[in-house]
Amino acid sequence: MSAQAGAGAAQAARKDAAPTQDVAWHHRHVLDVDVLTWPEIELIMRTAEEMGGILARPIRKVPALNGRRVTTLFYEASTRTRVSFETAARNLSADVVSIATATSSVTKGESLVDTIRTLEALGAEILIMRHSVSGAPYLAAQVFSGHVLNGGDGWHAHPTQALLDLYTMRQHVPGGDLRGRKVVIVGDVLHSRVARSNIWSLTAAGADLWLCGPATLLRGLDRWAAAWEGGKVPGHGRFHVTSDVAAAIRDADVVMALRIQRERMQSGLLPSLREYAARFGINAERVSRARPEAIVMHPGPMNEGVEIAPDVAASGRSVVTEQVSNGVAIRMALLYLLAGSHDGTVPGAAR
């Protein structure tokens, strides 16, 4: 079943899915959440729970990926995502090679395709990639014989972030079921790969999803929402787009703030950080309109005082550090599932 089967099929499949049902994993790459079916997302969640069990042990290491070669190739600055992936790979006993393009031959003008061919010749089996150009990991997946895991591409997708967000929400929502739960994402949705991937996973989970921000930073998303609503394009369900932050946060179960990138101001999309903070910043007063047990999330790194007030970020509602530690479990789960899926083209599969 593919995600293209639409809302009805996705909902029907999840109703029938017994909690212990064995779902086969057959994806060679994880480039975005959009191609994952709900049973596959649940398989990732269950596998991540087991990985969480490993992280709670005195020895946080299992030999599942012993000797498998994992390479991180980051064309964009990142601390938490890269370290999280590398920690995840090491916890599974994989051999990790880490490439920061600022100090690599990329600065001498080597193309992405040539870099990937070189890494493959050096023995890379699983490539974790971040690139500032949307779609770059898809090009990588075409030329690389192993597995590609998207660590974030341009404005397009950040699948591991969306999955760790879903995982964190399920831990806090009673019964772990997001159906009908109100989730609001506030901020620069337009330029956010985190938001885009979350749209796929949260609508698949059946959440009541709201996207909120200045109208200039929501451009086009209302058309996406309308197209899904009208059933004109394949998709999971529906979501709301609004600039009314009070309406968006009212009775929300989850409030997620997105990072406001300072460079957006030069483009004229935002008047000033101060005005953004005043109109859309997640502060204690706004959060008090959410449900009493609501959680506050942020994919990091936070601009405290801009999209999120420091007291909210440090409050008991904030699950930001849980998101970081859950990220390791989710990435371990994906590495594990990918390492076991092969179609004969993976180096080492014939061992």
Partner: protein
């Protein structure tokens, strides 16, 4: 494919009672004893052995469950990534005598994985092994301390252990190789 029954429910029940006595005898009591079932059918068997020990000793040793998926040495060989079933060891392994319990002992590779996994949780004083069926064909230097029944088999045969908790009935049967070899031990 024809199934040939090699153990009835009654025979399984008697084997479990005998193994429970042997375990206590070898340990000279229940002090420091812990049972760990290997997912999946080792877990209900461990529960039953614990219940049998409680019956004649008045003490129920702690029971844990061990999933060895992440310790398998054949991940790159199996067609699909095995589904993880969960590890739960609700006691301190350090200094305990741990009896691993599984349904079928075959190549010994599962037991090697289980020992690797256990040792990541602590340092047991001793690890012992109890199995319902020993079907031979070891590929590693491993033997069981307690065996319900030794069954000579050929490699083409499959041993099916059914337990009431999971399969609705207690029975051990032997079958000729079918297409599905994922559950083969």
């Amino acid at each position: 494919m024809t199934d040939r029954q090699i153990m009835t429910g009654d025979e399984i029940r008697r084997a479990i009672i005998r193994i429970s006595h042997e375990i206590v005898e070898k340990q000279a009591g229940t002090e420091g004893l812990a049972l760990v079932g290997i997912q999946r059918r080792g877990v209900p068997l461990a529960q039953r052995i614990a219940a049998a020990i409680e019956e004649h000793e008045g003490v129920r040793p702690p029971v844990g469950a061990l999933d060895i998926t992440f310790y398998r040495d054949d991940l790159s060989l199996v067609a699909q990534q095995p589904i993880v079933k969960g590890t739960d060891l609700p006691f301190d392994l350090n200094g305990a005598t741990v009896v691993l319990i599984d349904d079928v002992l075959y190549t010994g590779r599962t037991i090697r994985c289980a020992m690797d996994a256990l040792i990541d949780f602590g340092r047991p004083r001793a690890i012992r092994l109890a199995v319902l069926i020993d079907r031979g064909h070891r590929e590693l230097p491993i033997r069981a301390d307690h065996v319900g029944k030794n069954v000579p088999t050929s490699r083409e045969e499959i041993v099916h252990v059914h337990v009431a908790e999971m399969d609705g009935t207690d029975e051990v049967a032997i079958a000729r190789q079918a297409g599905d070899d994922t559950d083969r031990r």
